[in-house]
Every structure is written in C-alpha cells, then in structure tokens.
C-alpha cells in the first residue's frame, strides 16, 4: 500500500487575530481580497466580520434558491395548464384556457418595484461606504446609517405602494367577475401574484426590521448584515416579479 501521508512539521501555523479586531470593511491587511485562500491551506479566517456577512449571505441565498424553485414550480403549472384540454365527442380539441387581460396598473406597479430595488441598493451601499463605516466602527457617530435611512424609508413606502397597487389590480379583476376560482387562467394569475405579494409582505417586515436594526444594533457588522440580507431578498423578489410579469403579459 502506498504511503498516504504527505504532511510534515513545516505546516505553517496561522494565528487567528480574533473576533472584533477587524473593521467591517473590504480592506484587508494582506491588501485586496486577502489572497491566502489556498485550496489546501484554508486559513483561520472564519471569525471576522466579512466572514460573518458571507455566512448570512449564503444562508439567504440558499433560501432564495429554494424560493426560486418554488416560483419555477408555480410557473410550470402555467405551461402545462393551457395544453391540458380534452378531445370531445366530436373529435374537437376543447381547451378551457381563456386569456386574461392584464390590468394596466401592473405596469405602474412594476415600475414602482424596480424603483424600490434601486432605492434599497442605494441604502445598502451607504452602509458599505468605507469611510463612513470606519467612522461608525470607531464610534464617531453614525454617518452611514444616517445616509442610508431616508433611502430605506423610501423603499418601505415604495414596497407598500406596490402591494397596494397589486391589491387594486385584484379588485379590478374581481369587478370583472374574475376570482381565484373562476377559470384556469385566473387560478394561475391569482396564485403567482398572491404568492409573490405574500413574499413582498414578508419583505416589508424585513425592511422595517432592517430599519430598526441599523439604528439599534450595537455592532456595525450586524447593521450591515441586516440591511444587506434584506436587500438581497428584495432584489430577488424584483427579479422574480419581472420574470412573472413577462410571463403574464406575453405568454397568455
């Protein structure tokens, strides 16, 4: 049997500099991205603020991957359903798929949602603005939070506006006599818009939480994480909506 071990005493010991010793900014002592992440010598960096942020991002992205699959499955129903007609006694193909006219307000809602994605991105970047973050980390006031707060507030308002707009769209359809249970297309329309609206509803809670968090959390990196994760979620919801909206408009 061949000898299998190849390591020896020369393995370099790296000292963990400890938690809290590093400011939550991108700059690293090694310069740039900290280029010691060698395949065979994973360094001891699992305790700094950047690593904490990466862990939270990973968890949120895992959840969003699941969410993406969730919406993909709902959409699969959309593609299967129109073809699920049947052949009647007279050998005619009968389909009960009735295209549905999209309420025009959805265009406005889409614009609002895109705008909200923009505002939250601005807010997020304020919290990663290096000079301001360093000041916060050193305890010199809260310049980053103060600059992010108005944008965050704008996002909350725009998010609320979007949900109101969706509500109006549902009301308009109801006024035409189209409900969830009316026909296959309305099943689908209400299902995807409802599921998406529910996600945005949770997103609004997350936004409010992030708004409180950036003021209340003691550690700068936790403020960043609260806003960063919320904005990833919010962006994903915008992307999902664009995808669903194109589907609703073009593939009736």
């Amino acid at each position: 049997m061949p000898a299998t071990f190849t390591r020896h005493q020369a393995e370099v010991e790296k000292r963990d500099t400890g938690y809290g010793g590093k400011p939550p900014v991108d700059r690293r002592p090694t310069g740039g991205g900290g280029g010691d992440d060698n395949w065979d010598s994973h360094s001891s960096r699992n305790s700094g603020p950047r690593e904490l942020l990466m862990r939270y991002r990973l968890a949120v992205l895992s959840g969003l991957a699941g969410d993406f699959v969730f919406f993909a499955v709902l959409v699969s129903a959309f593609f299967v359903r129109p073809t699920a007609g049947h052949i009647d006694a007279g050998a005619n193909f009968v389909s009960d798929w009735h295209p549905l006219a999209i309420p025009p307000i959805l265009w406005i809602n889409t614009a609002i949602l895109l705008l909200s994605s923009l505002t939250i991105e601005v807010a997020r970047r304020q919290l990663f603005h290096e000079i301001d973050v360093m000041e916060e980390w050193l305890g010199l006031g809260r310049p980053a939070v103060k600059r992010a707060a108005p944008w965050l507030l704008a996002t909350i308002l725009l998010g609320g506006l979007f949900l109101t707009g969706q509500w109006i769209a549902w009301q308009q359809l109801s006024a035409q006599g189209l409900y969830f249970a009316t026909n296959p297309n309305s099943h689908f329309f209400f299902l995807v818009t409802g599921a998406h609206a529910f996600h945005l509803f949770l997103g609004l809670f997350a936004l409010v939480f992030a708004f409180v968090a950036v003021f209340r959390f003691k550690r700068v990196e936790m403020r960043q994480i609260a806003l960063d994760c919320t904005s990833w979620y919010w962006h994903a919801m915008t992307v999902f909506w664009i995808f669903l909206f194109i589907l609703l408009v073009c593939y009736q």
């Binding site: 001891s44 862990r55 990973l58 699941g66 299967v80 969830f180």
Partner: protein, 574 residues
C-alpha cells in the same frame, strides 16, 4: 445578533435549558434522534399491521376489530409518510449532521444555531400534525404517501380524504419549511464555517454527502412545498390545477376541473426522487468513512468518491420520470428517463466498487458498526441491481404495480438506509454517552435483522414477478394464481415479525448501555476525523482518512488534528 460561542452549557440552566430549549446542536441531535425513534416505532407497528392483515385478513386486531380496506390504505399511507419523512430524512439529514457536522469540519457550532433549533421545533410540530390525522373524523388519509390527485384533491373521494388529508398536507408544508431552513444552515456551516486548515480537499466524505444532500433538500422540498400549496388551493379555493376535467366519484359524475393530475406526479417525483438521495447519500458517506476505519486503510480514490457523490446528486434531479412510466406520460419521455436512470447507475457503481475494493485484502474488524456497514452495502447492491431492471419502461409496465417495486425500494432505500442509520448510531454512540454499546447484543441485533430483512423483502421479488399487486388490502377474487402466493405471504409476515422483534434487542441495548456500557475513553474506534478529537477543535492538519501501517510510528492511523511524525530516513513517502 450573534449568540455567544457555544460553551458546554452552563450548569445553572437546568435540564430543560440544557437539553430541550437549547440551540446546542448536540442536544438537538438527541431530540431529532428521539423524534426519529418515535416515528420508527409507529411506522414499524403500522407495517406489522399491514403484514398481519395481508395474511389473516379476517382476524380482528385487539382494541380495534377487523381492518376495513380503507383502514388498510390509511395504514399504508401513514407508514410510508412516517418512514420516508420522519425516519429516513430526519435521522440521516437532521440528527446526524447536528451530532457531528460542526465537529467534523473543525468548528464548535453551527452557522445559525437559532435557525437550526427552529427547524427542529417545526419538524416536531409537523410530526404532531401528521399523527393527529389518525384522530380526526374519518381518520387518516388513504391516498398513499404520494397523494396522487384526484384522490387527494377532492374530499369526497373517500374516508380520510377530508380532515385527514388536510392534516397530511399541513404536516408536509411544515416539514418542507423546516427541511429548507435546516439545510440552509448546513450549507452556510459547511461552506463558510470550516475551522482553520479544513480545506475542501480535507472534508470528510460524510460532510461532502451532507453538502450534496442539503443542496438537494433545498431544491426538492421547495418543489414539494409549491405542489402542496397548489393542492391546498385545489382543495379549498376552488381551483383546478390537478383536478381533471371530469370524473366519477362514488357514482356521482363531477365536471368543471380541467387540470392535470399528471402535473402533480411530475412535481411530486421531482421532489420524491432527490428525496431518495437525501436519505441515502449520508449513509454512503458514512459507509466510506466506516470502511476506512474498520479495514484500517484509506478511502480509495477520495476525489473519485467526492465527484461520484456530487454527480449522483446532480443526476438525481433528472430521473424523476422513472416513477411515472405507467402514468400516461409521453412514452418518448419514458425512454429519456430510462436513459438518465441508467446513467445514475454509473456513479453509484463507482462508489460500490470502491467499497468492495476497500474490503478486498483489507484488515477487517467485525465490530457492530462494521457489520451494519457491510449490511448496508449488501442491501444497496441487492436492491440496486433491480434498479436498472425497473428503469426499462417495457419491464416496468408489468412490474410497476406489483410487489417487485416494493421489494426494490425497501431493499435499496429502507433497509440500506436503516442499516446505515444503525451503523451511525453504534459508531457515534460514545459521543452521546461516553460508553460503547454492547457488542454481543449489537451482533445479535445485526444478524437477526439481516436475516429478517432479507426474509421479508427478498421473496417479494418472486411475489411481484408472479403478479401480486401492491396497494391491495387482500388477495381475493377470481385470479387463480393468488392462492398459490399465500405461503410466500405468510413467510414474509413471519420474517417481518422477526425483523421487528430484533429491534427490541436494539432498544434494550441503547438504553442499558447508556448506564452499563463499557467506558469508551477517548477515540474508541481509533478514528481520524475531528468528531473524536478530545477537547476543543484544533487546526486541521491533513486528509481525513489516513489509516494504514505507514500512517504513524506506533499507531496505524493519523488523526486530522495531529502532525505526522518525522519520517524514518529510509521511508520517504511517495
């Protein structure tokens, strides 16, 4: 906000604080194991009801009376659901990672301990809701663990399809959320919380398995959640995603649907097939680790095993249609799914052949965990060999609704899965109690279980080939061949009773060894991975499975946390 680093829980917190309402992953592992134990006890009792009813359909059960056909279907449904979700998912994919995953990657806690704990409580709630289905009006659902519509979509289709089916759906919804939450935690932990020195090339194969199965869990259980949401809408909101245009229910014609029951089958099996790998991949990783330990030689082809694990996970997403050859799906799609299914046999065979190669001239030590690992491999091969047979659409057309399929998946998923769980429990038991389980009882447990399991499931191949249908409450009717199957059925039932009785040995062993077992000491199996490292987690210094005569000066193994000794001058490693 970060919880303080998990120290050994402070003694002031009391039993509840330390063991129950805690974010400590070890304590959660014990809770998950107890949940799995409760589920496996209920599920096994239900399986005995199935077996007894098939042989003596007219004998009344004590306290219940004679089982009606609908009761039989309810029992089958609950048996399948409990075993697949709460045993074969909860134990390998939740309990075991909580027990050893952070330690194996050289860290002291999960990335998100509170999320992890929340997932347990959701799983427990899901279990309670599912079991509640027995006690609601009309009892448990009858549409099988796969819940095909329209049977599952319309309450009028049968007893148990009202409140019972709602319990089932609600339980599954909760389970999906819990599974995705705990997997997100595992993914973040494995990818971004590895301890110093723990590079990807040094991850134990169990961790690679959990990485793959967690990714599969996120995808598969999100699919199931969406499907369950749509089924719920069909049942309660008047939609018709899965309800066909017209059908006759209990003699009453019903129209107005127009949806596609086939869509549910696609979605369910897009969940259901990855679920098989979620159950078995941790067992495969564990088998590699245990074989290395108990043959005292390294895992052959570590990188091949990693690639095979990832490939199985990836291909496992593309084979779901082989559950649907007789569902009315496009036959050309059947051919495609047959091909992908045969393709997945390639990485699976790579793993099996590696294990066999490790056994060949290995210095085997027949401890109880090793025996159960060998049992796992035996069942995996025996059940796996009928896989390519069932992957032929033409053969499956005959075999699909027979006991041949029951034999196949009980060998390859249920028995292989459960034997790997036993291997893990016998192996990691010292981590929980500081003691070893009794070897004599363990070996008795193994041999009786092995014989009982083969006696139960192997004859089902012959019954299936002879045409015995599954899902039927009893063998009656004009078909002449059925009476000739009764002796086989009776033999299966006796074997199943033996198999279940053998588990009493296990239960006794678990609880008696906790108090009277031999003290294990540090690293009783002389293993190399970090969960056996005494004290806190030091830096990882090398590959995970360094066993063999060359691995150390005095010992034949080199733990991941130890430096290699200086080499003697004449023995340069090459």
């Amino acid at each position: 906000m970060n919880a303080p680093r998990a120290q050994p829980a402070a003694p002031s917190r009391g039993f509840l604080g330390r063991r129950i309402f805690t974010t400590d992953h070890r304590a959660l592992a014990i809770l998950y194991l107890l949940l799995g134990l409760a589920a496996v006890i209920v599920g096994t009792l239900l399986s005995l009801v199935i077996r007894i009813h098939r042989v003596w359909p007219t004998v009344p059960f004590p306290l219940y009376g004679i089982l009606r056909p609908e009761d039989y279907l309810a029992v089958v449904t609950m048996h399948g659901t409990l075993m697949v979700f709460f045993v074969l998912t909860v134990v390998p994919q939740s309990a075991f990672p909580n027990l050893v995953l952070p330690a194996q990657i050289g860290t002291d806690r999960m990335a998100f301990p509170r999320l992890n704990a929340a997932a347990f409580w959701l799983t427990l709630a899901s279990f309670c809701v599912l079991v509640a289905a027995f006690f609601v009006p009309q009892g448990a659902p009858i549409s099988g663990w796969t819940s095909y519509p329209p049977l599952s979509a319309i309450a009028a289709t049968g007893p148990g399809q009202g409140a019972g089916m709602d319990c089932w759906l609600f339980a599954i919804g909760l389970f999906c959320i819990a599974a995705v939450a705990s997997s997100a935690n595992f993914l973040a932990t494995i990818l971004a919380r590895r301890g110093p020195g723990m590079s990807f090339g040094r991850l134990p194969l169990t961790v690679w398995s959990w990485l793959t199965s967690s990714a599969l869990t996120v995808i598969a259980f999100s699919t199931l959640f969406a499907a369950a949401a749509m089924l719920f809408a069909d049942r309660h909101c008047g939609t018709s995603f899965f309800i066909p245009a017209s059908e006759v229910i209990s003699g009453i014609a019903r129209t107005g649907g127009g949806g596609s029951p086939l869509l549910w089958l696609h979605l369910f099996w897009f969940f259901g097939h990855p679920e098989v790998y979620i159950s078995i991949l941790p067992g495969m990783g564990l088998a590699s680790a245990l074989l290395a330990n108990f043959t005292r030689r390294p895992v052959l082809g570590y990188r091949v095993m990693v690639v095979a694990t990832l490939t199985i996970g990836f291909l496992g997403l593309g084979v779901w249609g082989h559950h649907m050859f007789v569902s009315g799906m496009n036959p050309y799609a059947g051919t495609a799914f047959g091909l992908t299914t045969i393709a997945i046999a390639v990485p699976s065979s790579a793993e099996v052949l590696t294990w066999l190669a490790m056994l060949f001239r290995g210095r085997m030590r027949f401890t109880t965990p090793m025996l159960f690992t060998l049992g796992f491999i035996s069942f995996f091969i025996a059940g796996g060999l009928t896989g390519p047979i069932l992957a032929q659409p033409a053969l499956d057309a005959y075999l699909h609704n027979t006991f041949f399929v029951v034999a196949h998946f009980h060998l390859v998923m249920a028995m292989a899965g459960v034997f790997s769980l036993f291997a893990g429990i016998y192996y990691w038991y010292p981590l929980l109690t500081g003691r070893l389980m009794n070897e004599m009882l363990g070996k008795a447990h193994f041999w009786v279980s092995l014989i009982g399991a083969y006696g139960t499931f192997f004859p089902m191949h012959f019954a299936g080939l002879a045409g015995e249908p599954r899902h039927y409450a009893q063998l009656a009717g004009p078909v002449e061949s059925f009476p000739s199957l009764i002796p086989v059925e009776r033999g299966i039932t006796f074997a199943a009773l033996t198999l279940a009785a053998a588990q009493l040995i296990f239960l006794f062993n678990v609880f008696s060894s906790a108090r009277k077992g031999v003290r294990a000491g540090e690293n009783p199996w002389r293993a190399t991975t970090h969960e056996w490292c005494p004290g806190t987690h030091p830096r990882t210094r090398g590959e995970p499975y360094l066993y063999g005569p060359n691995s150390g000066d005095t010992e034949d193994f080199l733990p991941q946390w130890e430096l290699a000794p200086p080499y003697p001058s004449g023995l340069k490693p090459e």
